[in-house]
Amino acid sequence: MNMRRILDRVWLGLAVAAVVAALAPLASIIYYVTVKGIAAISWNFLTHNFDQVGNNGGIANALEGTFLVVALASAIGVPIGLLAGVYISEYATGRSADVVRFLSDVLVGIPSIVTGILVYSAIVISFPTPFNGYTAFAAGVALGLMEIPIIANTTSESLRLVPNSLREASAALGIRKWRTIFLMMANCLGGIMTGILLATSRVAGETAPLLLTALGSTQPFQGWFNAVETMTLFIFQNGTSGTPNLVEQAWGASFVLLITVLGINIAIKLVTRRRIVFV
């Protein structure tokens, strides 16, 4: 073998090794969480609320809290994110477009704890409630703020991939701009949906901003202006409790959260593969 072939092999070997190094921790996380978590899973675990002392406790209240808080986040993040994305792609021109696009990119990268402390100072300490201002509402706002730039970016990128010839075809037919934009969005619905699901799965797994807003709770949902439990807070609090059966429940909750996020990602794959027909 000559030198070039040897070098070729070496590079291939290094690349394969890098892939293994990257995938090994991921595989071991999934394996470990599944093995540890599946032991805790039972119908009882999924349908019962948290129980500090007994062994019959479950994650029903945490699931409910996560679902509601993420729903509020999406109710805030989806419309604002979509409109911002439409503005960036379809209305902004020249310098203002560059500025808004740059800001949106920066916002995606803001550490979630920073968003958390912002909402903490703007909402939590400003509006005292029975739980010192910690509320499900504040948690939804924090996660919603995180969704906005993700959805804005994916929406504007998706819209920019729609050929300009379709925009001109629509304009030339005398179709109003806002209807043209709807038509363009229909042409890249897969990309837009992906962005929404991506944002949802990203915030569903957040913990840091929730520590500063939702606080956590042993109770089921008590309304938007009370503290609330979420899956990630459940894992954080019970996983570090040192009590064996609670630690085991944290593993169970981790497994459920992992499956949920995995499920959303599979949904993204399905959405992007299928061509959505929309009239």
């Binding site: 021109t93 020249g94 050929p163 010839s165 379709l166 925009r167 001109e168 075809a169 629509s170 304009a171 030339a172 037919l173 005398g174 179709i175 109003r176 209807r179 043209t180 038509l183 229909a186 042409n187 061509r275 959505i276 027909v277 929309f278 009239v279």
Partner: protein, 280 residues
């Protein structure tokens, strides 16, 4: 004003009289569209300089000229599509039936419904059926009456000589038919909103000769009811379909005349050199 191009020295005539021959010819009477002192820019690039011309009602006018001469931009100014390009600029007037379409009180949507357009590449909406493509202009303007929409679709497809070929596959995707059929679908889509003028920007350049022949036949028929302004780089096509032909070069209108006269006896040396294939 003109630079030396491929060894041809062109007289500088922009500062004195306009290059267009001033002998009145038939296009002067009954114009539907009139362009007055039109100038257009993309950024700092001056792509149309001081073009004035009239387009005769219910006739076909071809605009020919080498690539980059501004012929596409000229038609894009006539339905105000030019202004969609960021950094574009325009001065002058475009009159439709004597009304300036760039006037302050004019709704651009009305202009574009009266002046339809067919593009270089067929651009049916890929996420719509054949039927929905044809009626897109109505549906997206809020018309919901199914029976009326069906009638409009059938009528427009018949006018575009496409009905017999697609009548059994109206629910299929607009992108599922051949390129030539897609272009006639786009013509049907433009006709469906009942415009008075149809702009065509090199509508056959992406099509094979058979499909081209069909579109040309269609253009001749369309001039019975519509005013057609067609941009083409194909001089044979211009001589086949157009009643009048305009020759543009470097953003200026060099010559504009009845098609036979233009091709047999051009007045400008530049026109003659172009149509005899000496440059372009």
């Amino acid at each position: 004003m003109y630079s030396e191009i491929e060894g041809i020295s062109v007289k500088a005539n922009s500062d004195s009289a306009p290059a267009v021959n001033t002998i009145p010819f038939d296009a002067e009477r009954h114009p539907i569209v009139e362009v007055r002192n039109l100038n257009a820019w993309y950024g700092a690039q001056h792509v149309i300089s001081d073009v004035s011309m009239k387009f005769k009602r219910n006739h076909v006018t071809a605009i020919i000229g080498p690539s980059g001469c501004g012929k596409s931009t000229l038609v894009r100014c006539i339905n105000r599509l030019h202004e969609l390009v960021p950094s574009s600029k325009l001065t002058g007037n475009v009159m439709l039936d004597g009304v300036d379409i760039y006037g302050k009180q004019i709704d651009v949507v009305d202009v574009r419904r009266r002046i339809g357009m067919v593009f270089q590449k067929p651009n049916p909406f890929p996420n719509m059926s054949i039927r929905d493509n044809v009626i897109a202009g109505w549906k997206l303007a809020g018309v919901r009456d199914k029976k009326r929409l069906d009638e409009i679709a059938k009528n427009a497809l018949q006018q575009a000589f496409l009905w017999d070929e697609v009548r059994d596959k109206l629910p299929n995707s607009g992108a599922s038919i051949s390129g030539g059929q897609q272009q006639r679908l786009c013509i049907a889509r433009a006709l469906a909103v009942e415009p008075e003028v149809i702009l065509m920007d090199e509508p056959c350049s992406a099509l094979d000769p058979t499909a081209t022949a069909k579109i040309e036949e269609l253009i001749s028929k369309l001039s019975e009811n519509y005013t057609v302004i067609i941009v083409t780089h194909n001089m044979q096509q211009a001589s086949r379909v157009a009643d009048f032909t305009a020759f543009m070069y470097l953003g200026k209108l060099i010559e504009y005349d009845e098609t036979p006269r233009m091709f047999e006896n051009p007045k400008e040396e530049l026109t003659e050199r172009y149509i005899t294939g000496k440059f372009g």
